[in-house]
Amino acid sequence: MLRNNFLKTVYDFRLSIFFWGLGFAFLILIICGNYNDVVQGADRTNVLVGYKKLANLPGYPGGGAPDTDTFGGFITFRMLGGVPLILGIFGVLAGSSIIRGEEDKGSLDLLLTTPHSRTMVLLQKWAGMVAAIGAIVLITWLALYLGLLIVGQQLGFGEMFLAHLNIWLTCVVFGSLALLFGQFTLSRKAAAGWAGGVLAGTYLLESLARSLKELEWLQYLSPFYYHNLSKPLAHSVGTHWGAIAIQAGILAVVVITSAWMYNHRDHNNVYALFFNRPKIITSQPQTRPTSLGLRDTFWFGFHSALPGTLIWGLPISLYLCLTTLAMDSLRGELTSLLKSDIYRTQGFLLVPTDSNLLSLPLGFILVIFTAYAVVQVVGWNSEESEGRLELILSTPQSRWQLLLTRYLVNLLASALTCLLVGVIFSLAAMALVVKLDGSYILASFFGLWVICAVVMAAGFALSAVRPGRSIAIISGGLVAFFFVDSLGGLLKLPDWFINLSVYRAFGKPLLYGIDWTPQFVMLGLSGVFVAVAVYFFRQRDIVK
């Protein structure tokens, strides 16, 4: 298994292949099992109309809902349309790890002393990543096949192959983009951050451009646009070979550029572009650095968190502003969408008011904010996993103090992000004369901050107990909460169970104002989680 770089890379991803594959397989089987009840049930017509409306919502993945009365169309709409977005995250993490990640760890130094050219090392590792994504997609395909047997439906082998090829290709494009970004950024974190930004940005771009004629030209910049042109399981759409060829072309350019840059840069350094040229230092400074960010762990953490506030806050603000700007164009579609049962059960009103309609994209923003909270937890976790905590704890800092300081920093940074987005959104709403209650806007962004607080606290608690597994558990938990919230009604899950989801606890603050009970419960839970984190962090060995 460890005979060459390709097999070693696949071996490195073995656990990810298993868990990601298992997760997708589980979801596919649930959704397949639901097909006969939903699409063949008595309420069939209403359900299918609801799907059409849902698909037109900005931010909803998949780009349309064709042929949802057939099994192929149904599974494409309910499941396969969203897979590239989620599996694309795996691609980004994998693509940033294979070269830049190994440079960070120092393991690539030795690898480059073996008799293989840099191009060969890069291509073998890239192929390993491609195979890992392929393995996850293959598990998804097998689960779909099993689902077909369970519900007694049939799909052609060729169309299933093409549907999964399309998913695989899109995810490999994002993985390869992360590989490319790793050539001119100095850390895996930066490469993953840039590629993740492109993933989220192009997704939002495609989703908005689909709804707004003025922005239509922008959709050609998004890999999701080319992905959505092919829906091999929905026969009325079929396979768009041109789009697949364009994706393959983008992929080839990205991989060739990555290999070229890798061959023309120093190991452990960057390929110099206009923005990352190293500064020439002529003399050793004799003066003492005086930055406030070096004063103590609080200011250091806060200083480090500020770029994240802007990196996350500005694109989210832009998305909200564009949605607000397009409110009049979208009003008809959104109003029609809100008539479906799915939204009525979620607490939306049937009136086309601005606050009612803008509550839809706010739900999407909520998901982004929980991802932001997870990234904060990743930052804390990496202090230990990357070996920095050992030196910090050799200074006169108590463990509980250090943990609480870091949590406080993250609370403050997330508050600033919420404030930034809230202020920009309020200004945009005022400028565009959108009718929103100021106190409800405040309530919405306070609610977002409370969600961040509870997610981060849970992450800190998990990191204190199982530092090696915490990120996987918190991410998996949030994905589960998301599906419970969005599919709970469809799957006829009990209300009390659906209400456990943090996404449900957020409510509809833009519409109804804040519901204090869940906010207090979540703040209380945050306190409990932080206490648990402090207790376990004080009791356990620091991982080396």
Binding site: F300, L391, I392
Partner: protein
């Protein structure tokens, strides 16, 4: 000016080597910078260290020897309260390593065997950050250390070579003039010139009353710098003492040249004599052997019963003693 006052106050509050244990929970630890009593750490079925009794006196340079995986780093991490003992006691400057961890860390400087710092910060920024976490240091001393170790503080941490990263680690451990220095393989990655400079720094630190505890594989540096040495093997202490005391367990290598036939059989039965070998020294027969100190008396008595024309002896180095411990599995 305020900065200078802050530094002076910080320096003055560091306890001196004569300070008695503040908490006095263990009278046996009095006078020891590091004291452990039956200190054990196990990781499930894997044993880290077992019932380690270690005493490091205040003001000495103490070498902690052992092969990879012997438990050196585990011991150091226990002293630092980074990991917790399964049983036993450890005190640092008379204070309990667990209960008084923060107080202890005000008095120590630590260099881990492997460490990582913030890649985006320069050497100067990294040291300033750690200086602030320690309550302030005299920046001139930081510059002096950087100059002596030939470290350019203006580079970002990620741009440093392995040796230069190690220098940043060494400076952050020394810059606040700690009462106790705990160093895990400190010369790893340093070139020979910087190693020599580092040994000088250790001597200066000791002369000012601080204690130095460092782990190493490099026998020559331990022999050159340490007052006392402990040898650890598979988590257990196998030897602790001064370099002079270690000669008590030393063996001697002897070459005995005889005018007539070398009496091999008579030496073979002597207790404490091993590795016997007969060879020709010019035209004379000779014997080569390894003898423990307590066997020398008998050996020489037997040898002088014959016509002995030459004796050559050689003391083994610390390295040979170390290798002997591990090859014999003592």
């Amino acid at each position: 000016m305020a900065e200078c006052q802050k530094v002076v106050v910080a320096m003055n509050t560091i306890p001196t080597a004569q300070t008695p244990p503040r908490y006095g929970q263990n009278e046996n630890s009095r006078g020891f910078a590091i004291y452990t009593e039956k200190l054990s750490k196990s990781y499930g079925t894997y044993r880290g260290i077992s019932e380690l009794d270690l005493q490091v006196r205040e003001g000495e340079i103490f070498g902690f020897l052992g092969p990879n995986g012997a438990g050196k780093t585990t011991t150091i991490r226990l002293l630092l309260n980074l990991i917790f003992p399964t049983s036993g006691l450890a005190t640092v400057n008379g204070m309990d390593s667990r209960r008084d961890s923060v107080e202890i860390k005000k008095q120590i400087g630590y260099l881990p065997g492997e460490f990582s710092l913030y890649p985006g910060l320069t050497g100067a920024q990294t040291l300033e950050y750690f200086s602030n976490l320690r309550g302030g240091v005299a920046w001139n001393y930081v510059l002096e250390l950087a100059g002596r170790l030939e470290l350019d503080l203006s580079k970002k941490f990620r741009q440093y070579s392995r040796g230069n990263k190690q220098k940043v680690g060494i400076i952050q451990a020394l810059m606040h003039r700690p009462r106790l220095l705990i160093l895990d393989e400190p010369t790893s990655g340093l070139d020979p010139l910087n190693q020599q400079e580092f040994y000088k720094l250790l001597q200066e630190v000791r002369e000012k009353g601080s204690t130095v505890f460092f782990s190493s594989h490099i026998m020559s540096e331990v022999e050159k710098t340490c007052d006392r040495v402990a040898i650890i093997r598979e988590g257990r202490l196998v030897q602790l003492g001064g370099l002079d005391e270690l000669t008590g367990i030393k063996t001697q290598q002897l070459e005995l040249t005889f005018a007539g036939t070398a009496p091999l059989a008579e030496f073979e039965v002597l207790p404490g004599v091993s590795h016997l070998e007969k060879f020709m020294e010019g035209t004379h027969e000779a014997l080569r052997c390894v003898a423990q100190s307590e066997a020398l008396d008998n050996l020489l008595r037997v040898a002088t019963n014959h016509h002995l024309i030459n004796i050559a002896t050689r003391e083994p180095s610390l390295e040979e003693i170390f290798l002997q411990y591990y090859s014999n599995g003592q």
